[in-house]
C-alpha cells in the first residue's frame, strides 16, 4: 500500500522585486521557517529535493550554493531544474515508495540578479530559434495572438483578470491597476501589455513532506501528475493546454479520483500571463464555486522556479484555515516556453 504524504511544514520569504540577501541567506530563512512549522530540526530530514535553474543563478549546479542551508551535507539530495512543484512530485515519490519518511523540498530564484527575459532565450533551440532572439515573452505574445484571433473582447478580459488578481494581493510586485490602465500599459509583445504579465521578483520557498507514520498533521498530498509538450512551438496546439489535461488525468489516477467527478474548492494556477488563466480554466473545467488564486497568484507576484511551490504553500494555508478541514485544492506549476511542462498536485484537508 502506498504511504500517505502530509504537507507538514512550510516557509517562504516574501516575494520582492529585489531581495538584498544572498541566495543561501534567503533559502535559510525559508528552511528555518518550514522546519519550525513542522516542529522538527535538521536531524529529522531523511532526504532533500531542491529546485533551481543554473541560468538564473549564473552558476552551473546552482544547488551547490544551498547545500549546507538545506541540510543536504551527507544526506541524499536531488536537484530539479524545473518548477518547484515538480520537485514536490519527486519528494512525494520518495515517501510514497517507502524510501524515506521526511523530505525537505526547497526552491529559489532571484530574477533581480540578471535580465530574466534575455536569459529565457537560452532555453530555446540554439540553431534555428535562439539566433532570432525569441524568448519566453515573444512565445507568449504569439500564443496570445492566436487566442485573440476573432475574439475582440480578449484583451479586455485579460486586463480584467490581471486587475482582479493584483487587486486581491496584499503586497503585489506591480501596483494595482484598473482595466483601463492595464489596457494602456506599455506594449511588450502584442497583444500582450506589461500589465497582463506576471511581475517577476526574488524569493525562496521550503516545504516539509512527511509520511503519515511520523504522526505529522496537515493537508494530505493525494495525487500528482505531470506532462511535457513538444519543445517547438510550431509542433504544438497553442490554443489549448492539452498537457495540463493529461497531467490532471494522471494526478486524479494517483489520487484514485474520478476525473469527471473531482471537485476542487480551491485552485492555485501558475499563470505568467493573464491569458493563461483562461487556458487553465478551460483545461481543468472547474466548477463556478471554485476559488481561484486566493492571494492574487503569480499575476500579483511571481518568482520563477518557486512559482508552483508558492501555489502549494497558498493552497496549504487555505486548507489549514478551512473550517470543515475536509476540502480539496488543485495546485499547478509550469516551466518552459508557453508552459511546455505542466505539473499538478491534488491536496485534501482531511480525506473526503
Amino acid at each position: 500500500m502506498r504511504h500517505q504524504v502530509i504537507i507538514a511544514g512550510l516557509g517562504d520569504t516574501e516575494s520582492a522585486l529585489e531581495d538584498s540577501r544572498s541566495i543561501p541567506e534567503m533559502v535559510l530563512a525559508a528552511v528555518q521557517t518550514a522546519l519550525a512549522d513542522a516542529g522538527i530540526d535538521y536531524g529529522a530530514i531523511d532526504s532533500v529535493v531542491t529546485a533551481s535553474v543554473d541560468l538564473f543563478d549564473g552558476i552551473t549546479a546552482s544547488n551547490i550554493a544551498v547545500t549546507e542551508v538545506v541540510g543536504a551535507v551527507m544526506k541524499p539530495e536531488t536537484r530539479i531544474s524545473a518548477d518547484g512543484l515538480a520537485a514536490i512530485a519527486h519528494g512525494a515519490c520518495q515517501i510514497w515508495s517507502g524510501a524515506y519518511e521526511t523530505v525537505l523540498v526547497v526552491a529559489h530564484a532571484k530574477t533581480s540578479m540578471a535580465r530574466y527575459q534575455e536569459l529565457t532565450q537560452w532555453a530555446m533551440d540554439p540553431i534555428h530559434v535562439q539566433p532570432l532572439g525569441v524568448d519566453f515573452l515573444t512565445c507568449a505574445g504569439l500564443q496570445a495572438r492566436l487566442l485573440a484571433h476573432g475574439d475582440a473582447g480578449a484583451d479586455r478580459r485579460w486586463a480584467q483578470i490581471a486587475a482582479d488578481r493584483r487587486g486581491r494581493a496584499s503586497r503585489p510586485l506591480a501596483p494595482a491597476s484598473s482595466v483601463e490602465e492595464i489596457l494602456a500599459s506599455k506594449p511588450v509583445a502584442l497583444p500582450l501589455r506589461q500589465g497582463m504579465c506576471a511581475p517577476m521578483g526574488d524569493g525562496a520557498c521550503a516545504i516539509v513532506l512527511r509520511g503519515a507514520a511520523t504522526g505529522a498533521q496537515g493537508p494530505v498530498l493525494r495525487g500528482i501528475g505531470y506532462d511535457l509538450e513538444p519543445h517547438a512551438l510550431g509542433d504544438r496546439d497553442l490554443t489549448h493546454w492539452h498537457g495540463l489535461e493529461r497531467a490532471l488525468q494522471r494526478a486524479c489516477k494517483t489520487a484514485e479520483l474520478q476525473r469527471a467527478y473531482a471537485h476542487f474548492d480551491f485552485a492555485e494556477p501558475s499563470c505568467l500571463f493573464a491569458h493563461e488563466e483562461e487556458l487553465f480554466t478551460a483545461a481543468v473545467k472547474l466548477r463556478e464555486d471554485t476559488e481561484i488564486s486566493a492571494d492574487g497568484g503569480l499575476l500579483a507576484a511571481c518568482v520563477p522556479v518557486v512559482a508552483g511551490m508558492s501555489r502549494l504553500a497558498t493552497a496549504t494555508r487555505q486548507l489549514r484555515g478551512a473550517e470543515d478541514g475536509g476540502r480539496r485544492a488543485l495546485v499547478h506549476g509550469t516551466w518552459g516556453p508557453v508552459a511546455q511542462g505542466q505539473v499538478v498536485a491534488i491536496l485534501e484537508g482531511t480525506p473526503l
Partner: protein, 150 residues
C-alpha cells in the same frame, strides 16, 4: 546596518553546437534558397524545421520533401522590447514582427521575423513569402524575414 555588498560577474564564453545531419541539410538548402522538411513515415507529418526523430511515432525521419517559400501566417506578435543577438552580441531594438509561418508543404510552423511591424497590417491567415539575405551562409537568418503578399 552596513550597506549590502554585491559583486558583479560577467561571463564571456562561447559554444559551438553540432547541428546534426538533418539540420546540416536544412542549412545547406538555405544557402541555396531551398527549403526542405522531413516527413514522418508513420503519421505523415512534415516537420519544418526538420528534425531526426518523430516524437509522436518514435520513428527516425529520413524522407525529405520540398517546401514552398510562401505560406500562411499562423500567429504573429510585434515585440516592443530590444533583444540581445547571441550570435553577434548586438542589440536589436523593437518594434519588430515575429511570426509562426506554415509554409506550403509543411505541417508545422517556422519561427521567423516579419517585415511588417504595423499591427493593423498583420492578421492570422495572411499569405507571406520569404525574403532572402544577399550573403547566404547556411543559417536560419539567411531568410531575412517574411513579407506579407499583396
Amino acid at each position: 546596518m552596513n550597506e549590502r555588498i554585491s559583486v558583479d560577474v560577467e561571463m564571456r564564453q562561447s559554444w559551438r553546437y553540432a547541428s546534426g545531419a538533418a539540420m546540416e541539410r536544412f542549412c545547406e538548402g538555405l544557402r541555396n534558397k531551398r527549403i526542405e522538411a522531413l516527413r514522418c513515415e508513420g503519421c505523415g507529418r512534415r516537420y519544418l524545421p526538420p528534425r531526426p526523430f518523430c516524437g509522436n511515432c518514435h520513428l527516425h525521419l529520413s524522407h525529405w520533401v520540398p517546401v514552398a517559400q510562401e505560406g500562411v501566417l499562423e500567429a504573429w506578435t510585434v515585440v516592443c522590447l530590444p533583444f540581445l543577438d547571441g550570435r553577434t552580441g548586438t542589440v536589436r531594438n523593437g518594434p519588430y514582427g515575429m511570426g509562426l509561418v506554415r509554409l506550403d508543404g509543411a505541417d508545422t510552423t517556422l519561427n521567423h521575423y516579419l517585415a511588417e511591424t504595423d499591427p493593423s497590417r498583420l492578421a492570422v491567415g495572411l499569405r507571406v513569402r520569404a525574403a532572402w539575405r544577399d550573403d547566404l551562409r547556411g543559417a536560419i537568418d539567411d531568410i531575412l524575414h517574411f513579407e506579407v503578399m499583396q
